[in-house]
């Protein structure tokens, strides 16, 4: 499929970059904002055909583009999406529009550089999601790093932004470097065994890496992705990054960048090294469970709103990992769905915190209280998003959480039981936070004159709320598009795991279901 003669995926990858280029020549701040918005919005429109033209009946990669990039080394420019990446691409283009909108008045200096960073970031994100060549993926993966680093370091909260930016950069970098080594190792092992030089993921899927080596390569990939997710105990960069980043930075960080970690597991780490992934299932599941409970407990006692949401992310991403490593349909579909949910609900939470931050220049919970009285519209949105975050049935969060826990329970009831405790803790920390911010009498005189949301802010939140209910009430719309890909993912995985005769058989029987 092409738009204006350009293949759609390439267009989606490079259109934001074109936007960034155009912004270079604009001076007026207001014009900069509008042009950035137009580019983000058109990009979103361009991405919509993916959803409608996507063929849900096949698990094969779609909209594929495949050219040589550096032929002598087997590096290709190969793009394509399947049911796993489709929705994430849409989430990215969707959230970027909202990010530009919510930066409208929040960003007051170096607007040009800011908007350029954002569009540049979008190129990186979309690229990483559609790349089917390891080197190409790695390039986009690193491309994402730089604008995010700048977003935190330049437009972040002045107090600790440098610390947070460097911490973010180093944590991520530490993982990426190991991943690069693993990519190269995989390439050479494959070349040695088959005589074919390629970084093509689909080719490499077919190759069975010797079991012993799988552990090392999986470990390197998994570390890079686990830091990005972030999984316990690699999560400590996240609260700092989230807290110091500007609102839009937090939104995109939570909404998309973290998903790169979980997506990386699904696209690369697990299918490339299935035996290692299978063997390490207990370890990852336990880390995920710790993340769920630990994130919730620590979240509960945070005095800073953004930090609270950040730790809640650790908890929610724990669910995503738990479901993924259940290795059954419900777990994995729930996991993918929860990636989207988290992007929407936590993204909205950051938007909401950002709106109040813009008014009061503080994020301390203790500074607030009783806001429902003066900001009823804000209160309504905040409530809906809170409910989505705690997984109330009929919102998106429920569908994801339920399937994940069901999947986990099927694979190991103990995981299901422990994971479900997060349901209680989630309600506790979110509602307690909501109560302290929104309920009670207004005790702080600074809150008395707060203005309710303006039209731009409402426009930013309304699409989120619509998605919250749409995804909660009619999930079939989205599930139908990931069914085939997830089934193929699982059947490939099971096939590979079963080939290894030395695995204890009852476990294999368990995942076969």
């Amino acid at each position: 499929m092409t738009i204006f003669g350009i293949p759609i995926l390439s267009l989606l990858v490079f259109f934001p970059l074109l936007g960034a280029g155009v912004l270079l020549f604009i001076k007026r701040e207001e014009t900069l904002r509008w042009v950035a918005l137009v580019f983000a919005f058109v990009e979103f429109l361009f991405s919509l055909p993916l959803f409608f033209e996507f063929d849900p009946t096949t698990a094969a990669m779609q909209f594929v583009e495949d050219w040589w990039w550096i032929e002598s080394y087997g590096i290709s420019y190969k793009l394509g999406i399947d049911g796993i990446s489709l929705l994430l691409v849409l989430l990215t283009t969707f959230l970027t529009v909202l990010c530009v909108l919510c930066s409208w008045t929040a960003i007051t200096f170096r607007v040009k550089e800011y908007m350029i960073s954002f569009l540049f970031l979008e190129t990186g994100m979309v690229g990483a999601l559609v790349a089917l060549d390891l080197i190409l993926f790695y390039v986009f993966w690193e491309v994402m790093l730089i604008p995010m680093y700048l977003l935190i370091g330049v437009w972040g909260d002045p107090k600790r932004r440098i610390y947070a930016a460097i911490k973010f950069f180093l944590f991520t970098m530490a993982g990426s470097v190991l991943m690069l080594v693993a990519i190269l190792a995989l390439y050479f092992i494959h070349q040695k065994a088959t005589g074919k030089a390629t970084f093509d993921v689909l080719e490499l899927y077919k190759f069975g890496v010797p079991a012993g080596t799988q552990y090392w390569l999986f470990a390197a990939f998994a570390l890079a992705f686990a830091i990005k997710v972030p999984m316990f105990p690699f999560h400590t960069w996240l609260p700092d990054a989230h807290t110091e980043a500007p609102t839009a930075g937090s939104v995109i960080l939570a909404g998309v960048l973290l998903k790169m970690g979980t997506y990386g597991f699904l696209r690369f780490a697990i299918p490339l090294f299935p035996n290692a992934a299978y063997e390490l299932m207990p370890l990852i599941s336990v880390l995920a469970l710790i993340g769920i409970i630990y994130g919730a407990l620590v979240s509960m006692v945070q005095p800073d709103l953004k930090r609270l949401v950040a730790f809640s992310s650790v908890s929610h991403l724990g669910y995503v990992m738990l479901g993924m490593f259940a290795f059954n349909t419900q777990g994995i579909q729930g996991s993918i769905y929860q990636m989207l949910n988290h992007g929407i609900s936590t993204g909205s939470l950051f938007l909401i915190v950002g709106m109040i931050y813009e008014r009061r220049h503080t994020r301390m919970i203790a500074e607030f209280g009783g806001l429902s009285k003066v900001m009823p519209i804000y209160a309504t949105f905040f409530m809906i998003v809170t409910l989505s975050s705690i997984g109330l049935p009929s919102t998106n969060g429920f569908v994801g959480e339920f399937l994940i826990l069901l999947g986990a329970f099927r694979s190991n009831p103990v995981y299901g039981v422990l994971g479900a405790t997060g349901v209680i803790l989630g309600a506790a920390y979110m509602l307690w936070m909501f109560q302290r911010v929104m309920f009670g009498k207004i005790t702080n005189p600074k809150n008395e004159g707060l203005k309710d949301l303006n039209a731009r802010e409402i426009i930013t939140l309304v699409p989120m709320v619509i998605l919250i209910f749409l995804m909660g009430i009619y999930p079939k719309l989205f599930f139908s598009r990931m069914d085939a890909s997830v089934e193929k993912f699982l059947s490939d995985f099971r096939g590979r795991v079963e080939m290894k005769a030395d695995l204890p058989s009852p476990k294999v029987a368990e995942i076969k279901k």
């Binding site: 339920f402 099927r410 479900a420 405790t421 506790a428 509602l431 109560q435 309920f439 009498k441 999930p475």
Partner: protein, 662 residues
């Protein structure tokens, strides 16, 4: 005709959307019409369906309507679908009927409140969720309603969110309910996976119950206990009852509707709905019955010492819910549901009456500041009095029939036991006592009303008193649908519910329901006790109730100084009961404080110290190493020359040694 079942929840949903999104634009007057009429229409539709259902022979009283596929993931498939059968339509009638009157009452009661529009939006949403709960044809949709009503309860308890006590109570209700829901969730997981082992992947009620016989007893016991944990949360049973007394922070009609008549009975409904599973798990039934009866007597005792009229009613509600669980726990599912219905009438009425008293007394709740209101607000008094007679189990009123049915079944059912009966009977006496205590303190004796308040005591407007009167009528006549055979009645409700909950004429049920009959064919509800014994037990329970009333009369009319004397005599015991056995405080220390401490400990101790300590430690270490290494780069040529010579010497020595030794 049955096809229109989806209209029943749709009307409240429309009401919610209109009031919630456009309420402000439409204005108060429109909202006052939309709110109650949405429920009224749902009520009418339910009535139509009910009569349509009656026309069919009992075995064919089942209908399912699937709206659309909901969550579909691999072998997991659930739908948004509604089912009509005697149990669900009865529940729908109770819910929409009582809601309708309470909505009307609310128009008067909430008239002056600035949150009027929001109130009706929430109330409509509640009814929508509740109808999903009772009409759902599968566990997952039931769970939507289950948590949905919890949400509305949260929103309405904290309706006056500026009050800290209200927002605390709302949050407490939600979180405690979530503990129960945790059990419910796991119950669903276990049910789904264990049926899956037999190749049946479903959460659909009909399919689950039809295949329940494939499950072994241990599994079913685990499933039913987990589901019952959910019921303990929603229906406020030990140990999760603590949220309900606090829930009285909400507007009084809300207490009446949600925290007495409808939502809190959801657990009882759920157990009755899953009767096939429970009947397979005697241990679970025993647990349900014991928890039920223990809650009944425990909270009745707390009711003795409460001075807040709504708190008395709240503990009474918990206690009465205990009765319902006792009923379903001994396998008398229809008796449990029967009591659920009559309780909805009289307890709904009691709360509305309390609301009317508050209305008269400018919001006063403390019974120590009431008294002698009988003459001043006669309609409120008489209706309240009738409801009190009903709850106390005075023969001829609805509560008598339903409570007595449960008591009798607790004794005579194969799952029953004399001790269960005894405890329940004593609790019945206690109920009569604390309820009459409330009546005497509020309406009789001398006025202790604050003089500022006293001069504008007035009866409530008609929009409030008419619902009181209607509910009072229902509290009287509601029991006649279940007059036991021994009194020459036909026990219609029992017959009506039989296709769903069993106990009558096996073999005649609808194919989809025949498994109920099968499950019951072996048991049979009555252990073959004689009619004379049943009558005797009935007389005993009435006598116990009269004794309770007698004591209340003695303490609060005849000799009002007695309670004080007793309280001083047994100071410790009085304080223990007055403070509700300190259960809240114990929970606070055990769960809330310890979890917060754990959170802080993990944050400061692990996140900041261990992880970041390590990471930053490495950074500092590297910095230190570099700063040491840096000194080597002095920029002085002499130093570099010196190192070159030392290096050269070392190499030389190395090669020399090598040639010597090899």
């Amino acid at each position: 005709m049955f096809d229109i079942v989806w209209l029943v929840p749709l009307f409240p949903a429309i009401g919610f959307i209109l009031n919630g999104l456009f309420g402000r634009a439409l204005g108060k007057k429109a909202v006052s019409w939309i709110g109650p009429s949405a429920i009224g229409l749902a009520f009418l539709t339910s009535i139509l369906i009910f009569f349509e259902l009656l026309k069919k022979p009992p075995s064919e009283r089942f209908f399912e309507r699937i709206i659309f596929d909901w969550v579909v993931s691999g072998s997991f498939h659930t739908v948004i679908g509604y089912q009509i059968d005697p149990l669900s339509i009865l529940m729908a009638l109770v819910v929409t009927g009582v809601s309708f009157f309470i909505h009307i009452y609310s128009v008067g009661y909430m008239h002056e409140d600035p949150g009027y529009i929001r109130y009706f939006a929430y109330l409509n949403l509640f009814v929508f969720m509740m109808l999903n709960l009772v009409l759902a044809n599968n566990f997952l949709l039931m769970f939507v309603g289950w948590e949905g009503v919890g949400l509305c309860s949260y929103l309405l308890i904290g309706f006056w969110f500026e009050k800290d006590s209200a927002s605390n109570a709302g949050k407490k209700a939600f979180v405690v309910n979530r503990v129960g829901d945790f059990g419910f969730l796991l119950g669903m997981f276990l049910l789904f996976t264990s049926l899956g082992k037999h190749g049946i992947w479903t959460l659909d009620f009909t399919e689950v119950f039809a295949n329940a016989n494939k499950l072994d007893t241990v599994t079913v016991t685990a499933i039913t206990i987990l589901l019952f944990i959910g019921a303990c949360g929603k229906s406020a049973q030990i140990p999760l009852y603590v949220w309900l007394p606090d829930a009285m922070e909400g507007p009084t009609p809300v207490s009446s509707l949600i925290h007495a008549a409808t939502m809190v009975t959801a657990g009882v409904y759920m157990v009755a709905r899953c009767n096939v599973l429970y009947s397979m798990a005697p241990l679970s039934m025993a647990i349900v019955a014991v928890i039920g009866v223990a809650t009944a007597i425990f909270t009745a005792s707390i009711g003795f010492c409460q001075n807040d009229i709504k708190k008395v009613l709240a503990y009474s509600t918990i206690s009465q819910l205990g009765y319902m669980f006792l009923g379903v726990g001994v396998g008398a599912y229809s008796a449990g549901i029967f009591h659920l219905m009559t309780h909805a009438f009289f307890k709904g009425l009691l709360f509305l009456g309390a609301g009317s008293v508050m209305h008269a007394l400018s919001g006063e709740l403390d019974m120590r500041k009431m008294g002698a209101l009988r003459k001043k607000i006669p309609i409120t008094f008489w209706t309240f009095f009738i409801a009190t007679l009903a709850i106390a189990g005075i023969p001829g009123l609805s509560g008598f029939f339903s409570k007595d049915e449960i008591l009798w079944q607790a004794f005579s059912s194969p799952h029953g036991h004399f001790v269960l009966w005894l405890v329940a009977a004593v609790a019945a006496g206690m109920t009569a006592f604390y309820m009459f205590r409330a009546v005497f303190l509020t309406f009789f004796g001398e006025s202790r009303v604050d003089p500022h308040v006293a001069h504008h005591i007035h009866e409530s407007p008609r929009i409030m008193t008419i619902p009181l009167i209607i509910l009072a009528i229902l509290s009287v006549i509601g029991g006649y649908v279940g007059v036991p055979h021994v009194l020459g009645g036909a026990n219609h409700i029992h017959e009506f519910l039989a296709p769903v909950v069993g106990g009558s004429e096996p073999g005649k049920s609808h194919a989809a329901l025949s498994f109920v009959a099968q499950a019951w064919a072996s048991g049979g509800e009555n252990g073959g006790h004689s009619a004379a014994l049943e009558l005797l037990m009935m007389v005993i329970s009435v006598v116990i109730a009269l004794i309770g009333i007698g004591f209340a009369y003695l303490f609060y009319i005849k000799n009002p100084t007695l309670p004080k004397l007793l309280a001083e005599r047994w100071k410790g015991l009085y304080r223990l009961v007055y403070n509700k056995y300190y259960v809240d405080e114990i929970y606070q220390v055990l769960f809330v404080n310890s979890l917060k401490k754990l959170g802080v400990g993990l944050w400061r101790g692990f996140d900041d110290f261990v992880i970041d300590g390590t990471v930053n430690g490495i950074a500092i270490l590297i910095g230190w190493i570099s700063s040491v290494m840096r000194r080597v780069q002095t920029g002085l040529v002499q130093n570099y020359a010196f190192s070159m010579i030392v290096g050269g010497l070392i190499l030389l020595v190395y090669y020399l040694l090598r040639t010597i030794f090899y």
